[in-house]
């Protein structure tokens, strides 16, 4: 067992687990798109970022790939983390607005606008399907190909693969291809229809502002650093 600080609480965690698993064990919900129990962590979606270390010198790291260690100080929903997550959700909305999972996440995190060029992709390159095929199905039928903006998930030579048994595991885990509910604003890029529901009906994934502020170091948030100096 190792002892770490999770959102200001001293907790005991089994050695070898990741921060994400430890947080889930203590009931702290960290949003993810590319994590699935039973598949190797991948760190692709970056939504599980948490702040690690003492305030002031804290760094942001993906909790799904970071193992717990003695004396680790973790803040899972600090202002800095929430800001990063909202930005990521906005980017996911800009590329993949047809996904229910991403739309729900946007509502839960109060992301109400998209400032990026709207695209309509059907893949966020989270790699869940690739890992599902390789690790659970022992199929190795699909994989990543090409590079950079051309990168995509496909079978070799874009042809029907002999290795594929049509098990459907890849579709089952895909966070991008579960289509969104047809709410009153279904034609818009950001739905946010769930924001009109009473707060208790919402699946609130994150702490409210009071909790976020309580986790801030005394004296307010650390001074914002930019790459242009102070």
């Amino acid at each position: 067992m190792v002892e770490m600080t999770l959102n200001g609480l001293m907790v005991k965690v089994e050695e070898g687990t990741t921060i994400l698993e430890a947080a889930a064990f203590y009931g702290v919900n960290i949003p993810t798109l590319c994590y699935l129990e039973g598949l190797s962590p991948y760190g692709a979606c970056r939504l599980c970022v948490v702040e690690i270390g003492e305030p002031g010198s804290a760094k942001v790291a993906t909790s799904c790939t970071h193992r717990v260690e003695d004396g680790l100080v973790v803040r899972t929903h600090s202002a800095r983390v929430m800001k990063a997550r909202r930005m990521l959700i906005e980017l996911y909305l800009a590329s993949c607005p047809s996904s229910k999972i991403i739309q729900d996440m946007a509502s839960n995190h109060h992301v109400t606008r998209v400032r990026f060029k709207q695209r309509h992709e059907d893949c966020i390159l989270c790699g869940l399907c690739v890992r599902m095929c390789a690790e659970q199905m022992q199929g190795k039928a699909i994989g990543f190909a090409w590079r950079g903006s051309e990168r995509k998930v496909t079978t070799p030579f874009d042809k029907k693969s002999d290795a594929c048994r049509l098990c459907g595991g890849c579709m089952y885990v895909c966070p991008a291809c579960r289509s969104r509910c047809q709410g009153p604003q279904a034609e818009q890029a950001v739905c946010n229809a769930c924001l009109n529901l009473p707060q208790t009906d919402r699946n609130y994934l994150f702490f409210d502002n009071a909790v976020c502020e309580a986790m801030e170091p005394p004296g307010g948030a650390p001074k914002k650093m930019t790459n242009r100096g102070a």
Binding site: A134, K140, F144, W146, P156, S161
Partner: protein
């Protein structure tokens, strides 16, 4: 550069004996032999080594140096890295493009030349740089590039008929 290719089995045996199961070096060997990565050879390589086809395809498509399409007999690569760009790589490309009437990424209809760009060759001191059949030409101007390519083309036009008349005449398609 374009030798008569070995049989698939011979290539694979050589590749596997020399490199074990290292995908990148094996793909380099295959590409050196065929001028590109033919699908059947990659599939045979996968069967023989047990490396999943997705992993091979992933590697083959990731690196710019590998091509899944047949390339020209003479390979022209123009560097468009930062230094070469500043020192006029664009003009080299334009000159070569006009001379051969192909765009970067294309092959001439007679399969003699293919033109590609690369992001840096690591010899910025010679910028702008062009590589023709593995030979580096540095400090180029549009005129010099045109001259070099033109010379190779003339040589090819003179030398090609005898070389092609022989045994490889029929098998040239899809080979180089």
């Amino acid at each position: 550069m374009c030798k008569r290719p070995l049989e698939v089995e011979d290539v694979l045996t050589r590749v596997i004996v020399a490199n074990g199961a290292s995908v990148v070096t094996a793909l380099q060997e295959i590409q050196n032999n065929y001028g590109y990565l033919p699908e059947e050879v990659l599939r045979a390589f996968s069967r023989k080594t047990g490396i999943p086809m997705v992993d091979i395809f992933n590697t083959a498509t990731f690196y710019n140096a590998f091509s899944l399409e047949p390339r020209g007999r003479h390979q022209i690569t123009v560097c468009v890295g930062t230094t070469c760009h500043i020192r006029g790589a664009g003009m080299l490309i334009e000159a070569v493009s006009r001379l051969l009437e192909i765009q970067p990424g294309e092959v001439t209809p007679d399969r003699e030349f293919s033109l590609e760009t690369v992001n840096c060759l690591g010899c910025c001191a010679f910028a702008p740089v062009m590589v023709l059949d593995g030979k580096y030409y540095g400090n180029l101007t549009a005129g010099k590039a045109r001259e070099i390519v033109g010379r190779i083309r003339e040589e090819a036009a003179e030398g090609a008929p005898e070389a092609d008349e022989g045994e490889s005449g029929g098998s040239r398609e899809g080979v180089c």
